[in-house]
Amino acid sequence: MKSSRAQRIRGLLLVNGVLLLLVLIWLIPVVGLLVSSFRDRFDIQTTPWWAILPHRKWEVVEKIDPRAQGLDASGPMTINGITATFEELRAGVTTPEGQRLQWIGNRRIGTIEVQDKVWTVSWKFTLDNYKQVLQGKSFVYTREDGTVVTIPGDNFYGALLNSIAVALPSTLIPILIAAFAAYGFAWMNFPGRRLMFILVVALLVVPLQIALVPILRDYAKLNLNGTFLAIWLAHTGFGLPLATYLLFNYISTLPRETLESAFIDGASHFTVFTRLILPLSVPALASFAIFQFLWVWNDYLVALIFLGGDRNFQVVTMRLAAIVGDRGQDWHLLTAGAFVTMVLPLIVFFSLQRYFVRGLLAGSIKG
């Protein structure tokens, strides 16, 4: 009995240990980004983000002027009982006491530092990165030689508004259209019903790349390129098969008696749909809404093509990708910018996760 209990505990440890390791691997990339976005611009570039954890670092305790000591940098020198050449000192020499000697500066006018290894944390947090990213505030600093360098910020605020203006209608319009269609397929009889629904199912997996060139041509003729309407309609078109399919699956399983009694009372299809079916379908509508919202918010390709290069209409993903392309080393902007683009979807995701999971389980294939 005893061995089986030990075995069970070992099993539990193994399960939880491996799981914890996986969770850590999954979390670390995001944590690194989040921590860095609050760090000082200079710190991000010179120390890794995990420097916020306690770590040992060399710190200067004493400075020695080699010329005052009468040392000749061209040959081996003896300081504090250590004999080393200039090159060795340049790289740093460790003494038996655990100290380090390091030559700072050039051969003629440099100094020697005596360093101790001490425990330290790099806890200098700031909101400056977010101010620069959101308010377009520039970062100005003066170099050692006196030149003033200005690093422009970025305007994510406008991009955030654009993303909202794109994402909300692109979520709500297909839901409305698909709900009408799903009701029609589920509760009305008309010629071509089966054929039309087959079309919906067939289009579920069609890659949207297929539509981009022809639709772009249509938009050019209609003078629609670069407008919000263009991208709403595009997202509506690409999201509609899944929306119709999901909502049909839900609406067609609603109890028939409820509807029939409403019809006997003289209600029209429109009334039944708006007063009865829509409120009853809220769980399914919510599932698809989250699905579509995350999809549209995180979309890059469709926005890139239909909103074009006009900076005023850029959504957050385009803005972020533009920074990656133009200023891929400006980590203070990239980390804060990336987090700004992630906040809203993460909130939606965590607060409505239950519905999202339900949507995933209901229809797992999207084109």
Partner: protein
Amino acid sequence: MQYLERRASMELSPIARLVTNLLRIALAALIPLIAFYILYQGFLFLRAGNASKGVITLIAIVWGVGGVAILYWVFNWLVELLPLYWTTRLQPFVFVGPAMAILAWYLFLPSLRTLWISLYGKDGPPGIPLSLLFSSPNEFIALQRAQFVGLGNYIAVFTDRLMREAFRNNIFFWIGVATPLTVIFGLLVAVLADRSKFENFAKAMVFMPMAISFVGAGVIWNFIYEVKPVGSPQIGLLNAIVVGLGGQPQAWPAYTAISPWNNLFLVIIVVWLQTGYAMVLFSAALKGIPEEIIEAARVDGANEIEVFFRIMVPSISGTIITVTTTVIIFTLKIFDVVWVMTGGQFGTDVIATQFYRQSFIARNSGYGSAIAIVLLIAVIPVMVYNLRRFGEQEAF
């Protein structure tokens, strides 16, 4: 004039009846006109885009969503004015029609049009009016023929060096490596979480990347792969580990010396993003296996590994197939990650980046369309499978 019958009351004089009906017709024409006029003004306002951003955003949302609702209401109202016979006939098309029209415009017809464009050269089919066919057929045919390349684009797609590289990456790295890794990690997390005390937390954390855009994920992982010159502290996690182990820091996704294996650094990102999806589906499927079956196997002396492979995997094989197909379809169209991380350079091109480059940068729409058609053909087996499953349903 048939709709007069519907609510015509017997008591009214013929003239009163005529006036009522005229008013009704006028109203039936007026209300849609007003609705369309308002919507059109909103459209012009939005297209001009002169107001401040906040105002435009708000109006855009109200106009877009409200407009669609108004259109449905107006059309339904019109149809309900008709006699009952016509109402029941036409109402379904008010409900289903808009969805079908949009599907036709945005997905169905474009598939055919893209196929058509793919048979032509750089600029696609020539924009010549059809009337020319009747006025001077010879000229029409000559103009068409000048642009027509037949299957030339397809031959190019399958022989071009860059396309071959893209196919290799899509098939070997994205379908061959990324897909199984996603499925395996998803299954692993689902099984482990099922027996763990912190199941919900673990699942939420692994699931979280699903809410992150590919561009955002690209930034996150670019930061992990960030490289600094030898000697200065590495701020990227991967290079810090590599240097800590005594290696040389590298810009891993752009490290051509190990090409094509640098693709793996992009694959990792997608596995990180997609595992949550696989896990959720597997988790739900695992919970559907009756506890008695698993207990019975344990009583019979099966160890956990046997239980997993002999009972769990066969019970959720349907879900495994679904997840695998979904991830394959997804990776087939992979674009954002590659575009943001490497721009398709360093041997990391995929079909969708080639499609984008050909269609929208090189402006070679014939060639780009041929690539899109290849993508479409690749998903046809899944489409057929879906349709077959749909055909088995009783509801239709």
